[in-house]
């Protein structure tokens, strides 16, 4: 029998903090997303691999065999294609589910009512989508090896890891921005307007320096974060084969872009989540 005043004073606090803090909820939500991805892994892989597979096959194998491209073009193509796969998979892994969950299924409500700050729910979306992007990027190595019958890489492990992670994060941050900024009924248009330019202005099919002769296009490509990821991947995998941007410059640009885009995206997310 303790003094009743003490019990009363501590009771709400004790009830308010039963088990674990916001990060525990964060991990549980991440666990839910990974569980769902794991359950549909074959579907997920087919979904993300098909497009890069055909890019590598047609441009790296068919065109070189026909003599329209140099024999080692495949080695130049694969680092950029991995960058493209990582960024676009991460982007679609945030944008599409967000649009669906906010407007159609409302599934996200259960997570918005979980005991963690709303901004952390947005961060979880970014982290999870980045993991999907990384997985898709990792799978591209064996696929490239199989399609081209061997890869001639001079791997810089540190740079490879940094650019894969940064590429995944910048992609999912862009997806967060897109998924929360665009109304549900416009998402088809938004995807068409955003994805195609992103795909072809990201320097993933050509080294950025080689655009010297097309100066205006070279400048435009600098606006696309994918350009720096592609350059970074070439610096990490084929440093001696073609010219590439200085890796730390590319890293800084991608990291800065990630922070800026994610910050706007998280604000957009909170606006959608809370009236």
């Amino acid at each position: 029998m303790t003094a009743p005043t003490t019990t009363e004073a501590t009771a709400p606090v004790a009830a308010a903090r039963p088990r674990g803090g916001p990060w525990r909820a964060f991990l549980a939500i991440l666990g839910r997303d990974l569980f769902v991805t794991w359950n549909e892994l074959p579907v997920f892989l087919v979904q993300v691999i098909l497009q890069p597979f055909f890019i590598i096959f047609v441009f790296g194998k068919v065109l070189t065999n026909l003599g329209f491209a140099q024999a080692n073009y495949g080695d130049v193509l694969i680092p950029g294609t991995i960058a493209l796969t990582i960024v676009l998979t991460a982007l679609q892994s945030t944008a599409l589910p967000l649009v669906i969950e906010f407007s159609f299924t409302r599934e996200i409500e259960d997570r918005l009512l979980a005991p963690l700050p709303t901004s952390l729910v947005a961060v979880e979306k970014v982290v999870f989508a980045a993991l999907r992007g990384l997985l898709a990027g990792a799978v591209m190595f064996p696929i490239g090896w199989l399609v081209l019958g061997g890869l001639h890489f001079d791997v810089q492990p540190g740079e490879l890891l940094v650019f894969m992670v940064l590429g995944a994060l910048v992609g999912s941050a862009m997806g967060l921005l897109l998924g929360t900024a665009v109304p549900a009924n416009r998402i088809n248009i938004a995807f068409a307007v955003v994805l195609t330019p992103l795909l072809f202005t990201g320097a993933s099919q050509y080294p950025w320096a080689s655009l010297d002769s097309l100066r205006w296009f070279q400048v435009i490509t600098l606006l696309n974060p994918l350009t720096y990821v592609s350059e970074g991947m070439r610096a990490a995998l084929i440093p001696g084969l073609v010219p590439h941007m200085t890796p730390w410059v590319a890293m800084l640009v991608v990291a800065g872009a990630t922070v800026a885009i994610a910050a706007v995206g998280v604000r957009g997310f909170i606006r959608r989540a809370v009236d």
Binding site: P12, A15, A16, R17, P18, R19, G20, P22, R24, A25, A28, I29, G31, R32, F35, V36, N39, T105, R106, E107, E109, D110, R111, L112, L113, A114, P115, L116, P117, T118, A273, V274, D275
Partner: protein, 368 residues
């Protein structure tokens, strides 16, 4: 309108919510509190501000003014702490379609840090309690409306909330599912869980709520127990009578109506045409003559099938709105009928239902 409660779980004071670019406040200075273990009903037409009020309390809507507290926690200042205490069953299904019914429950509990063994135990218990034990491993996208609703309530209970918010919990459910949900809400009250529900279903509010707040245009118009609210309606008691004339003559309805209206204690008299629905509680009544048949055109012996003693057709029906208790009006009415030689066939004492209260406060105008 707010009576301070000793053990208030939910406290709302001077709550205002104004959406940008809207001319009026969605919630306009609402105050109430809900005690521990109480079932509190927010009743109002569509667009009255019920759901917005619930939205503020459940941390999904940021108030423009005023304070909302759950167990002393200001929901706008510390939404994370408030979320630990509350659970929400929304109007629209928001189950996780990628997961089975059981996993919906398990992951929800995981978000709240319920340990794994405890999660499993509670999930099995709740699936069983909500009649979904055999559907646990099914994906939820093929669940019927009633099943989804049951699962959403089960999910809400997985982290043992102090207060449960039910936003129109039975809208669109069949009668069986509705009664099932009602029973579960009553169970919760017995277990001491505070329940706040919104509804525009009078029966639901009357059946479940300890106290009811009537909202319209963002304001709380009345707040009390259903019984106390019904006592507020003017003409707080009604008397419905059926009058028959002796064989061979018709009831002089005009004279009778005037006579009834002149009785002290009668505020207003209404002639009720045959076939018109009786007021709440009166049932179809023995007067429901064959539709289309003129009153008094029945067979001369007057007795319908099985309607022992009461003529199936004929006579005249009146509804008396009294300023005194309806029972006290029976003797004067009989006295009046004795003078004219008519007889009283049937009478019905009625008190206004919550629906009368609701219409009295919110009017009959249709809402967009």
């Amino acid at each position: 309108m707010t009576e301070p409660l000793d053990d208030a779980i939910v406290e709302v004071s001077d709550l205002v919510k104004r959406y940008p670019k809207r001319p009026v406040n969605a919630v306009d200075g609402v105050s109430f509190s809900v005690g521990r273990g109480e079932v509190f009903g927010l009743l109002g037409p569509n667009g009255a501000g019920k759901t917005t009020t619930i939205g503020v309390l459940t941390t999904r809507v940021v108030p423009t003014g005023g304070v909302a507290r759950i167990q002393g926690i200001d929901v706008a200042r510390d939404p994370v702490a408030a979320r630990r205490l509350l659970a929400v069953v929304p109007q629209r299904v928001n189950l996780d379609r990628s997961l089975s019914a059981r996993r919906n429950l398990l992951f929800h509990a995981a978000y709240f840090g319920v340990p794994p063994a405890e999660r499993e135990r509670r999930a099995d218990e709740l699936l069983d309690q909500f009649g979904l034990a055999d559907r646990g491993n099914d994906k939820v996208d093929r669940f019927s409306g009633g099943q989804s609703q049951r699962l959403m309530i089960a999910r809400a209970l997985m982290h043992e909330p102090t207060v449960l918010f039910l936003d129109e919990p039975t809208t669109g459910l069949d009668p069986q599912a509705r009664l099932f949900v009602w029973d579960r809400v009553r169970d919760l009250r017995e277990r001491g869980v505070t329940v706040v529900l919104t509804t525009h279903d009078m029966d639901e509010a009357e059946a479940l709520a300890d106290r009811v707040g009537i909202m319209d245009n963002g304001r709380l118009l009345a707040l009390d127990t259903p019984a106390a609210l019904t006592a507020l309606v003017p003409g707080d008691s009604m008397l419905e009578i059926n009058v028959a004339a002796p064989a061979g003559r018709e009831v002089d309805t005009v004279a009778l109506e005037a006579g009834l209206a002149a009785l002290p204690g009668v505020e207003r008299v209404e002639r009720v045409r045959a076939g018109a629905p009786a007021f709440a509680g009166a049932g179809a009544g023995p007067w429901g003559g064959p539709p289309g048949g003129p009153p008094g055109a029945g067979p001369p012996w007057g007795h319908g099938n099985g309607a022992a003693g009461a003529p199936a057709t004929g006579g005249a029906r009146f509804r008396l709105y009294c300023t005194v208790d309806a029972a006290a009006m029976v003797a004067p009415v009989i006295g009046l009928l004795a003078q004219s030689g008519d007889t009283l066939d049937d009478l019905n004492l009625g008190r206004p239902s919550l629906e009368d209260v609701f219409i009295n406060f919110t009017g009959r105008r249709l809402r967009g």
